[in-house]
């Protein structure tokens, strides 16, 4: 049993079926002479499903499994949170506070960064980015956003 093969095989089959269904439901398939927008996706997703099944079967047959290794859960959560918050509030926060929040949350991904250290690092990054992107390149986002009442 090889868990990685089984999981990735299942994933490919799932994606393949999803695309197949979307192509079938929404798009004209056409014929080989005049291929509709659904033709190529249909073929590709079919191939993807076949590969997925083959990988999955190999995972069951394969004698030796492989280590999945450790997952830095803290980093996964913090980094996703950081980018999502940034995406949602960047316009309203403005460049300086937005980048500060982004870097601060990201920095906390690593347990080696203390809160204070993360705050200092993020402040430096935020000031640097405001100077480069705000004043230098002229990104159309205010340095301090409307959220702060300016």
């Amino acid at each position: 049993m090889n868990g990685k093969d089984i999981a990735s095989g299942a994933f490919f089959v799932l994606i393949g079926l999803a695309y197949m269904w979307m192509a079938w439901a929404d798009l004209p398939i056409g014929n080989t002479l005049e291929m509709g927008p659904g033709y190529f996706p249909m073929v590709l997703s079919g191939i993807l499903v076949i590969f997925g099944v083959a990988i999955g079967v190999r995972g069951f047959v394969n004698a030796h499994g492989t280590e999945f290794g450790r997952v830095p859960w803290r980093a996964v959560v913090m980094m996703s949170l950081a980018t999502l918050v940034f995406a949602a509030f960047f316009d309203r926060l403005g460049l300086l506070p937005g980048v500060f929040v982004l870097s601060f949350l990201t920095a906390l991904s690593s347990s080696r960064n203390s809160i204070l250290g993360a705050a200092i690092t993020s402040l430096c990054i935020a000031v640097f980015c405001s100077a480069v992107f705000g004043y230098g390149i002229g990104l159309p986002v205010p340095i301090i956003g409307p959220l702060f009442g300016f």
Partner: protein
């Protein structure tokens, strides 16, 4: 004489102050990226892609290429000084380079790396200038069937570079192709796979995908094993190699250059493969093979010349055919498309000044690199002390702002989050992202040529095998697939990537 005319056109454009400036900025950033651990040329190029939109196309391409070959130089510096290859392609350099450094010969090792790289870069530049033009002329005769087959070759050979299972790499290609189709269908105007979102009608932003996979996804991987403390950096005393050293590096450099140039041209080749092959060849042919691994200067010169030559000749298929031979070239193609230049054989005809300036700038950039790297090595060494804990929040910040600035919308940043997580999970499942990214870039082009070829042939799929060039290309793809799937080749591939820690 056409060759001379072209080169002089290239020189006149590349020597313009603005282009010299961006060339310098590119190689400087590239060296920095190569030195900083955990930050590769791919992440940097995707981060800086949005910033290059405001530049003229020529300047932006010159800078992006400078980052790529500059990082090859920087990577070798860390490989030699702290046994930590900044770039995967410098991994073999560390074997002998670090041993030389431990014996107090860090200087000559760095000099051997820089000089052999410069020589290889010069040869590769001339080679690109010589080969790109005839290839372009050949490619102008290509019809849709040939293009389709050519892209199949490109996709299949990207597998040769991917580590791990062949089946997974093929599945990753299919998934990349499918994702690349997102957006409005060019023939019917119907939206495809957009989930009703208006933002996705123009397709998924390539920068967001690249930044997610190679920026945030890569950081997650690095955080699995927190980099331990400060590395001990070997002291650099005397830079200049002795006369005996110089004598010893001549032949390995020549051999490395030839190997690198050839492997770089092959689709799927590039710096990584070249350096590994060159080192092994050198070990076999050298009279001093017992010294390899213990500080043989040949073991530095050969892979360094090869990786630099390979990095540069991998531009040949990109420039002359519009086919990316590796993910870095895919990024350059992405940059071209965003600048409104349709990559392909027409580039040399429609934008000759850009085409030749880019080629000449590589040689100028290489000369800059020698100057940057040898006397200033002390400065680069100090960058080795930047802790990763400070580095990665900065990388994420640059990535997100860069992605935002593509079209000043937050939508792409959500894509970064998703593709970063997806990329990380896939790598955890031993699925290399490179074939996926290539598929994503080539998806729309592949489909367009397929549909056009079928229209032209009246719906006869045999068109791909009855047209000679197309048939030859498909044979190449089939042979590549067969060779890569052979058990003993598969095993060697595995060991290559294991040793290099990719």
């Amino acid at each position: 004489m056409e060759f001379i005319d072209n080169l002089s056109l290239g020189f006149s454009v590349a020597m313009m102050p603005i282009n010299l400036l961006y060339c310098f900025a590119g190689v400087l950033l590239g060296t920095l990226v190569g030195v900083l651990p955990g930050l590769g040329p791919l992440a940097t190029m995707s981060m800086l892609l949005p910033l290059t939109f405001g530049l003229p196309p020529t300047s932006s391409l010159i800078m992006l290429s400078g980052i790529y070959y500059g990082s090859q130089y920087g990577g070798s510096t860390t490989a030699i000084l702290i046994n930590l290859p900044g770039e995967a392609s410098s991994a073999v350099t560390a074997l002998d380079g670090y041993q030389m450094a431990r014996k107090g010969r860090a200087g000559p090792a760095l000099a051997a790396a820089a000089l052999s790289s410069f020589f290889a870069g010069t040869v590769a530049t001339v080679l690109i200038a010589l080969v790109a033009q005839p290839l372009t002329k050949l490619a102008l005769k290509f019809g849709p069937a040939e293009y389709f087959s050519l892209m199949v070759v490109g996709l299949i050979s990207s597998i040769a570079l991917a580590s791990g299972s062949l089946l997974k790499a093929l599945a990753m290609i299919c998934m990349g192709l499918l994702l690349g189709l997102t957006g409005t269908d060019i023939y019917t105007g119907l939206p495809r796979f957009t989930f009703g979102s208006a933002e996705m009608l123009d397709g998924i932003d390539f920068v967001a995908i690249a930044v997610g996979i190679y920026g945030t996804g890569e950081i997650l991987r690095n955080l699995e094993h927190p980099l331990t403390g400060e590395a001990t950096v070997a002291k650099v005393t005397n830079i200049w190699p002795s006369r005996n050293d110089l004598k010893r590096i001549v032949a390995p450099t020549l051999r490395g250059t030839v190997i690198g140039s050839l492997l770089g041209i092959l689709p799927g080749g590039g710096a990584l493969l070249s350096s590994f092959v060159a080192y092994n060849v050198e070990k076999k042919v050298s009279k001093r093979s017992e010294e390899f691994g213990k500080g043989a200067i040949e073991g530095v010169a050969a892979p360094e010349s090869a990786n630099n030559a390979g990095a540069q000749t991998s531009f040949i298929p990109m420039l002359s055919l519009g086919i990316p031979s590796n993910v870095v070239m895919a990024l350059v193609i992405g940059a071209m498309i965003m600048q409104g230049i349709q990559p392909g054989p027409n580039v040399a005809v429609t934008n000759p000044d850009m085409f030749w300036a880019l080629i000449v700038s590589m040689w100028i950039g290489n000369a800059m690199l020698v100057i940057l790297n040898l006397p200033l090595v002390g400065m680069w060494v100090s960058f080795l002390r930047v802790p990763y804990g400070i580095l990665f929040p900065a990388i994420v910040a640059f990535c997100c702002i860069g992605v935002y600035s593509v079209d000043n919308s937050s939508f792409s940043i959500y894509l970064v989050t998703i593709s970063g997580l997806l990329g990380y999970v896939l790598v955890k499942l031993d699925c290399e992202p490179a074939p996926f990214v290539l598929g994503f870039i080539l998806g729309p082009m592949l489909e367009e040529h397929l549909r056009r070829a079928m229209l032209v042939s009246g719906g006869d799929p045999l068109v791909f095998v009855t047209r000679p060039i197309s048939a030859a290309l498909l044979v190449i793809a089939a042979v590549t697939l067969y060779v890569v799937s052979r058990p003993n080749v598969a095993k060697t591939r595995e060991s290559v990537f294991e040793e290099e820690g990719v």
